[in-house]
Amino acid sequence: MTDQPTKDELRTLLRAASTGDQNAWRQIVHAYTPRVFSLIRSHCGDADLSEEITQSTFCTIAVKIGQYDELGKFEQWLFRIAMNRLRDEMRRRKRQANPVEHDTLTALIGAGKRSDNDDSDVDPVLRQALREAMQQLSDADQQIIYLRHCAELSFKRIAETLEQPLGTVLARQHRALKKLRELLERHEQDPPEQ
């Protein structure tokens, strides 16, 4: 994982950045860009769009950091802005797009999410099955899994980011895992024709 500042270091960096310290800002950007990018990339599958949204997210943070009151909730603030940006962009694209058959869309998503890492330990067939199963989860359930595995947030922070009770987040994670397991078992019993 990219070096992450400790709580105290982050507080100091944020305070310095809020007074225009570019060196502090550079450290914040380097620490959090990979996590923001990964979260957006895993949601939308489009590297260019993910880069654009990541950049836009940090521009928003830079503009507002002067008014930010550090209460130990920087990550929640950052990832909430990133997800709002993504949601707005997806809505905009949906409005502009022509209707597409669901199968075509699924195939496109699969293509966009192709592996960038051939060294992954996971069987490619299983990985593909898992991704397809992920697509069948509700947006809210997918969001929790991506926030957990790509943004690396704890359940407590996920709850704060989504402004939901912790119990709801844990229940959703539990339900999502259960559904994924069922989908994978179904996939094993009845694999799709190649």
Binding site: M1, G20, W25, F155
Partner: protein, 159 residues
């Protein structure tokens, strides 16, 4: 820091309420989503350059222009030094919850008077938050005192 995420995960483990098969699937998900962590080379720098100019303008201390004879300038500097030392002392005392004191020439401390508070407030207004300045610079009261002592000596050597 590297541009590439090295694939080490930092999420908390599943707690109670999740069974072994949940943990297994959770771990599989982590591995399967790992390839999403590949970050384009140079992205953090591009993000930095796109956003850095949007940061608030850095607060700069007002320039101090001292005029007059060298003796007059020294008097002004000493006043300034005294005020900063007091501000540092007030900030430190406030931070640790002690009664507000200020150092005296003899090294003892006395409770700050209303007049001292007025000076501190005046300083605070003209320099932004003096206490924040010291915290940001990571300076302790000893550091400040040491700096100020050197400044006073340098001023005296000008005589």
């Amino acid at each position: 820091m590297n541009d590439l995420h090295d694939g080490q995960f930092n999420f908390e483990p599943l707690g109670s309420g999740f069974d072994a098969s949940d943990w297994e699937l959770d771990s599989l998900l982590a591995d399967a989503l790992r390839d999403g962590f590949i970050v384009p080379a140079g992205l953090p720098d591009r993000v930095f350059y796109a956003s850095a100019s949007l940061l608030p303008v850095r607060a700069i201390d007002p320039p101090l222009k001292l005029v007059g004879t060298s003796r007059e300038r020294i008097v002004v500097r000493r006043r300034l030094v005294s005020r900063i030392a007091m501000a540092a002392s007030v900030a430190l005392a406030g931070a640790i919850g002690l009664k507000v004191c200020m150092p005296t020439a003899a090294g003892t401390q006395v409770a700050a008077s209303d007049a001292d508070w007025a000076v501190f407030e005046e300083l605070d207004a003209s320099y932004g938050s003096v206490s924040q300045l010291f915290e940001t610079e990571g300076m302790t009261l000893d550091d400040v005192t040491s700096e100020l002592t050197m400044l006073v000596r340098a001023s005296e050597s000008e005589l």
